[in-house]
Symmetry: C2
């Protein structure tokens, strides 16, 4: 397989570049046409790989793409999931090269979506294509379901899975949208945090007011928001919303050991990020805080005058985007309601506060001893000559919980990214070595299941 | 005089509309050309009024405009000051009509700069023009000094006054850039708060980070900023920066009575602004909080993702604009340093905080018994049939202190605005009744000094 991959490498990279040139930003409505173009491009790539029943499936949002190859009777069926949509590019001025003009530097490809998730998704399409080329058939049955709304929390894929259980039925779901623990240390993530995101808006007067005439005598929307937001954490880095930690399991000694086994260099992380100190909930390590503990982060804030210079106003409105990562038995809806109660209790005088829920997703955990996960581990070991670790990831892939529950199939998070690849940030990139080895590993996995 | 004003009213309003159409926003560099256009327009208006030695004077920023008429030997000299620059228009979507397309509704003229300060400044130009037309001369000597940087705290006018004391020498300075206490209640402001404005910027990591991977484990620039900003006030609405109140006089019973004499309807204010509660420093009334007490207001805040939808990042940078109003013997530089110390003491772990001073101005107070102020009060009474009040204004006109100190001349703040005219806000407007009566009052004032 390695030879076949090497032989087609240049061509595959050229194709990936085409894919990455499509600015398929799902969260911004003005990119709707580009998102559709990426769906159609994905469908063509599946056709080219020899998949059948390829279809761009309409939803009330961005389309899904389906394709399958089902000519291996008595063999298991693997459902490959990935997403062709990407995060917004901003702040665009911090990119060294334009986000939608892929560039290769030091054997890495730089572009929005390179590692999250077009590059990783493409691995599976190319693995199928090479297997079909070499053998005229796949070793197992394969279905692809690829969406364009992962970065906006998959609002239409969940219902689609519920309504198409037969069509999507499978023995295992494989997803490449996670990372290695470090370079040369493959990893199969066995836990994902849940998510809850919302927007908090504070309104005071019906107009911005002159700070000389009114300042100090009327509520200031930015003051009110700042006071509310600051009340969400205590001085120990704990979330101070009553009820927030309900359902969070006390970490067992075994879990803490498992988390500690994943390598992490605090000094190197601080150097890399250029910060003097890490930060977080007292009593927990960085890996625990970002992997097995829940968090509440403000993702952005806006209010009042933000231009050049000065405008001496008392602002009438301010808002913040907030997202939580949830673990264990935390229920996103219950957490949302506890934040609603907190806001009601802490609302500053004269301020009207509203909350709007943007997304929610349950936490999910997998058993590393499951045979499909073990087969994936062997595939990695064959290619990388290293046994993968089974880390707990801090991120959320909301649809993973739905796949596992509705299709009753174990989910294998076969990641090929690196934690340093700037996903959701400027200068996102993907290591081409993992792109090519990933194709080998993905092919190897299908062969092992045969 | 009333007849002459009535006769020219329509023409004067048409000219004012021309003036208001020039978007002379001094704080935004892209409007530099428009600011100059407004300076030239002002110079032409002075020429037209019969002023001599009219000159557009270059500075290192926006130009000054000078003009005089000095043919009344043995009569006093009045220096008229005003500003032709305006505030930015944003948020532009909250304007009912475009900010630089003046519209008249219910005898009010709507446009940015209508009341602050083109409309009020134009009163004096037109008063001089009518007096020249009627008598071929003015009753006293008059000088005009008009600037284009008031909204950015007059960085070049101060030094110009210091260097041109002879040219600007006068017996009284008259400025129309303040408000009545209420409709039909003229007012001569006898106290202005000082000002100090700054930008606070917090930086954490060198890049926005994925909140799933890093959230809860690294400093978040918005959290850090929110925590710092919230620490600036206590729960009683007091500024909790150590040393902030140094130099603030305990209000005497007499001052409190004087402040209380200015009418204020709390319920109507709340209804007008559509707020449930007022807000401010415990133990003080609204009029005291906004007139004789110092304040610290956040004018705007920005950080992280602010677009449509969601982006689950840990933001690397956030900033806020802050402005203080100062009273009594508060020293702007000392207050700035106390805020610097506060920031150093309260800086959250892992955050780099920087402060940049934008403007500073000393507080100023006038004696209402001064003969020039009394003459102005009589002029108002002649025209409006109501004796003006002598309120303490919460706003700052930084240059007032410089005029009084350097030229050793009493400053008369002869305002014709109304407190409800939305200065610095959308739908700024100016009552045309006060425009025309203002011209009468200004002319009457000059005649009284003769």
């Amino acid at each position: 397989m390695r030879e076949a991959v090497e032989q087609h490498k240049e061509q595959f990279i050229e194709e990936l570049k085409q894919y990455l040139r499509i600015p398929s930003i799902s969260s911004l409505s003005e990119y709707k046409g580009e998102v559709r173009r990426a769906a159609e491009w994905t469908a063509e790539a599946l056709e080219k790989a020899g998949m059948e029943h390829v279809e761009v499936i309409e939803t009330n949002g961005h389309p899904l793409v389906y394709g399958d190859w089902l000519h291996a009777p008595d063999k298991p069926t693997v459902l490959v999931y990935g997403h062709y949509d990407v995060q917004p590019e901003d702040p665009v001025d911090l990119w060294d090269t334009p986000p939608f003009e892929p560039v290769i530097k030091d054997d890495k490809i730089y572009a929005r979506g390179a590692t999250d998730d077009k590059g990783q998704l493409f691995i599976h399409i190319k693995a199928a294509e090479l297997l079909m080329k070499e053998h005229g058939a796949l070793p197992v049955n394969v279905k692809f379901i690829i969406e364009g709304e992962e970065e906006v929390a998959s609002p239409h894929l969940g219902p689609f899975i519920e309504e198409n259980q037969e069509r999507l039925s499978c023995d295992s779901v494989v997803i490449s949208d996670t990372s290695f623990s470090a370079e040369d240390q493959p990893a199969i993530c066995t836990s994902l945090r849940g998510a809850l995101a919302m927007e908090m808006t504070v309104q005071t007067a019906n107009s911005d007011l002159h700070s000389g005439t009114y300042g100090g005598g009327v509520p200031n929307a930015v003051h009110s928001l700042v006071s509310l937001l600051d009340s969400l954490h205590d001085s120990q880095g704990r979330v101070s919303v009553e009820g927030f930690y309900q359902g969070v399991p006390e970490p067992t000694e075994e879990l803490r050991r498992e988390v500690a086994a994943v390598p992490f260099d605090e000094e190197e992380t601080k150097r890399g990020l250029e910060i003097d100190d890490l930060y977080g909930e007292a009593g927990f390590s960085f890996k625990e805080r970002t992997g097995i503990r829940p968090t509440l982060e403000i993702n952005g804030i806006t209010g009042g005058f933000q231009g050049e210079g000065l405008k001496t106003i008392v602002p009438k409105e301010a808002s913040a985007k907030i997202s939580c990562r949830l673990v264990g038995d935390q229920n996103p809806q219950a957490v949302y309601e506890s934040i609603e109660r907190h806001v009601k209790q802490h609302k500053p005088a004269g301020a009207k506060v509203s909350l709007e829920k943007l997304i929610q997703a349950d936490p999910v955990a997998m058993d590393s001893q499951n045979s499909f996960i073990q087969a994936a581990a062997e595939a990695y070991e064959d290619v990388y000559k290293v046994r993968p670790l089974f880390p707990k990831e801090g991120g959320s892939i909301p649809i993973v919980e739905v796949f596992g529950r509705v299709l009753e199939a174990p989910v294998v998070l076969m990641g090929f990214g690196l934690p340093t690849e700037n996903l959701h940030a400027p200068n996102e990139h993907f290591h081409l070595d993992n792109f090519t080895k990933g194709i080998e590993t993905a092919a190897q996995y299908l062969q092992k299941l045969s």
